[in-house]
Amino acid sequence: MDDLIAEFLTETAESLEVVDSELVKFEANPTERKTLDNIFRLVHTVKGTCGFLGLSRLEAVAHAGETLLGRFRDGKLEVTPLAVTLVLHSIDRIKVILAGLEATGNEPDGDDHDLISQLEAMAEGQEVDLSTVKTVEVPDRPIGAEIDAAEITAPALGVGDIDPATGRALRPGEVSEAELEAAFAAADGPEDGLKPGDIDPATGRQLRPGEVSEADLEAAFAAAEAPDWMNDSAPEPVAEVKAEPVKAPEPVKAAAPVAPKTPAAPEPAPSLGGEDAQGIATTQSIRVSVDVLEGLMTLVSEMVLTRNQLLQISRNREDSAFATPLQRLSTLTGELQDSVMKTRMQPIGAAWKKLPRLVRDLSYELGKKIDLVMEGEGTELDRQVLELIRDPLTHMVRNSADHGLEGTQERIDLGKPANGTIKLAAFHEGGYIVIRIADNGRGLNTARIREKIIEKGLASRGEVEGMNDQQIHRFIFAPGFSTAAAVTNLSGRGVGMDVVRTNIEQIGGQIDLNSVAGQGTTFTIKIPLTLAIVSALIVGAGAQKFAVPQTSVMELVRTGQNAEHRIEKINDALVLRLRNKLLPLVQLGPTLQLEAAKDEDATFVMVIQVGERRYGLVVNDVLDTEEIVVKPLATILRDVDVFSGATILGDGSVVLILDPNAMSERAGNMLEEKAAEETEETITDAGSQKVAMLLFKAGNGAPKAVELEHITRLEHVESSQIEIMEGRAALQYRGKLMPILTVNSDFSGLISAHSDETHIQPLLVFTGEGYAMGLAVDEIVDVVEDHMTIELSADRPGVRGTAIVAGRACEILDVDYYHLRGLAEHQRQPAHSSEKAVA
């Protein structure tokens, strides 16, 4: 493709994005002259450039749009949402054409007459507003159809949106603003406009040689095309000075009149497509392809590693004459690394650019009044991360507008402000960036979600009952979960939040939400600033070292013989009691099948949080923390999913980086485990009331517990009364034969008692419709009243899970399971033991 075209495409895409958001701003505040000026100039620049490049179709659309904008500018036409919509449509049309241009290098064929005629009608019909409205509404459909196309192709255009070198979008329009001001001034009287002195204070930047002639050109255009309104507007100095650090020394041209430097550095002047060959020489920022930056990043990473190795060697030598220069090299390397990292950083605003337009469109489509508030747009993060969160963010804003906010009338009825607000905020916190998406809408419908959870089989009714609101709300992140009663055009297809969550977790981030009925929902996303270099804990297991990304490690707990925390066993599963909660444990060494791990003592438990899951990783030692450069593993090793990469440590050795997510999946059934809630919340929550429970011992392992209400009575019978036959047991009880069950289907305990001397066998008697059954237990321990929050899911039938009851880890009996077994016994009873029943 022609270089000029390519450059034009990048710049125009940037301009149009600015126009999108500026138009929304303008619509909200039509008296804001500066915004309109800015829009006007951006469109004008696009038009001018098209003319030079011979892109007639684009030029025609841009021209019609510009004319309409000119009317607004003159105050000859009132700014209506309809008019703004029309302009937005023309911007969309331009995007479609640009997409075609990008794909083929030529302007795609097509007729824009529908749009242009409407734009012109709007521009001319300033006297009869109503009639204009009517005529415009008709061709709205084909335009609307093209918007979709534009939206689909937008990401493709978007790639070049951001100047990687400066980490921010170039704004060609802002420069041409000055030039156009000059042009307008020139139209009034050349002397006024072209005097450098007039421009400098207004724009706060130096004049460059190219500009003067350009201004002449613009002036010529302006005067020739629409002198009437152009002349009307008095040249208004626009002092929009952005504080941008000067990125590169400006090549000073002898001809350039030097203006005094203002404290705020001037906006760099981008080249204006093919219009001005000198434009390139006068820029203060340059475009650098992302590949070059990535390459640079890799090199610096290598350098950091080499530096680390050198430092390690130097530390082990006393006499080293290298120490001082090495120290200097080390500092420089650090600075170089920081600088290169900076080139990758971009303000998060770049990912938010499309949102004002999106919200505006949603607002009209849904008939809701929505204000979008953005805070902390300047917060910077790695561009790689930025690309990855762009889509999830858009999706969530869309969700908030569609599901979160009520309709305007509903809001008024509820006594809320008519305008719903979606607030985006970003800020740094530690090595993370935190993004909040908050709406002041209706909040999540807890009851609806609860029903849906049960309906979709994501949890049983009993489990759901025991959850607090926040735990229930978190189910919206579960795959395939959607509560929208109707699938709208915008959202509610049920592929939403779990995809968002997956995307965010893939980059080591976390997402959570907080919703208050009637007050709104807030999503909080926490993501690492960069993916290239991560802090990691170096841990030892089975005589080997591994790196664990620090982002997922919540805390370290020392265990062992004399430590406060001890590792306990339930069946074969390891758990750790931590602040009254049970933490399932995964042993690193054995999980990785390391031979040497067998004889080791576990000394540390790393509490790891992955999404909603929380578990403890048992390691032998925690050696160090180190900044590591993540390198992908070779393809041949990709099937080993527990490692996300490898890195070279300061001593030159290679360590593998553990993927905490894959580790937890490998650890089996704790997959179902949900992260433990803050204890206080669980207890104060109305959902988990105290229940009376019977504690007893039966079989091996942990004590068992069952809710007292399920038990009809407790019996103590002589063991000799229990009749054992063919692996089953029964008792004559109230004139009927009652099957006796044990927790492990093993009657040896009963048999031995039977053959030996008689002992008293405790029984829990359960009754159902017309039948009864007894559960033989070893010992009844206690009856307690406590909260029952099942924290570990069951690993075998007959057990609902594990919970802390009266300070002890107990397995909670699944009464339904025993009822079923008891019932089964009853049905086959007559065939086997009728004679006994008679006796």
Partner: protein, 147 residues
Amino acid sequence: MSLRDYVTLRVGGQLFGVDAARVHDVFHPRGLTPVPLSRSEIAGVLNLRGRIVTAVCARRRLGLPPREEGAPEPLAIGLEVHGDSYGLVIDSVDEVLKLDDEKFHAPPGNLPPRWAEIIVGVYQLEKELLIVLDPHTLLDAAHLKAA
């Protein structure tokens, strides 16, 4: 007649050759970090001048018995496949030979499957046969799975 350079090497006594243009370097595989849960062919990962190289044991890959006790320290040849750096761990490197394409033969049909797919062909040298390996299939994850 066109000549081609081959790095010749020995694994378990057998003479093999790899296109010299594909061999980046020859090194001693030291400081290996084993990769738990990986396939048995993977000897580990190591740091070769700042690059992470995955070492693949040629003996295990070819289904040969492990190296004897007291055998000289093995060598590795550096290869690149799909942008990843690999070290193929072998017993020893002999020399670089210029061989005539005309003496090149397709592999015989009676090779075990594990060998057949990683062998490009055979040269008949005066004393013995030189088996030419294809590093691509040798180190390809898909082929490894099938093997």
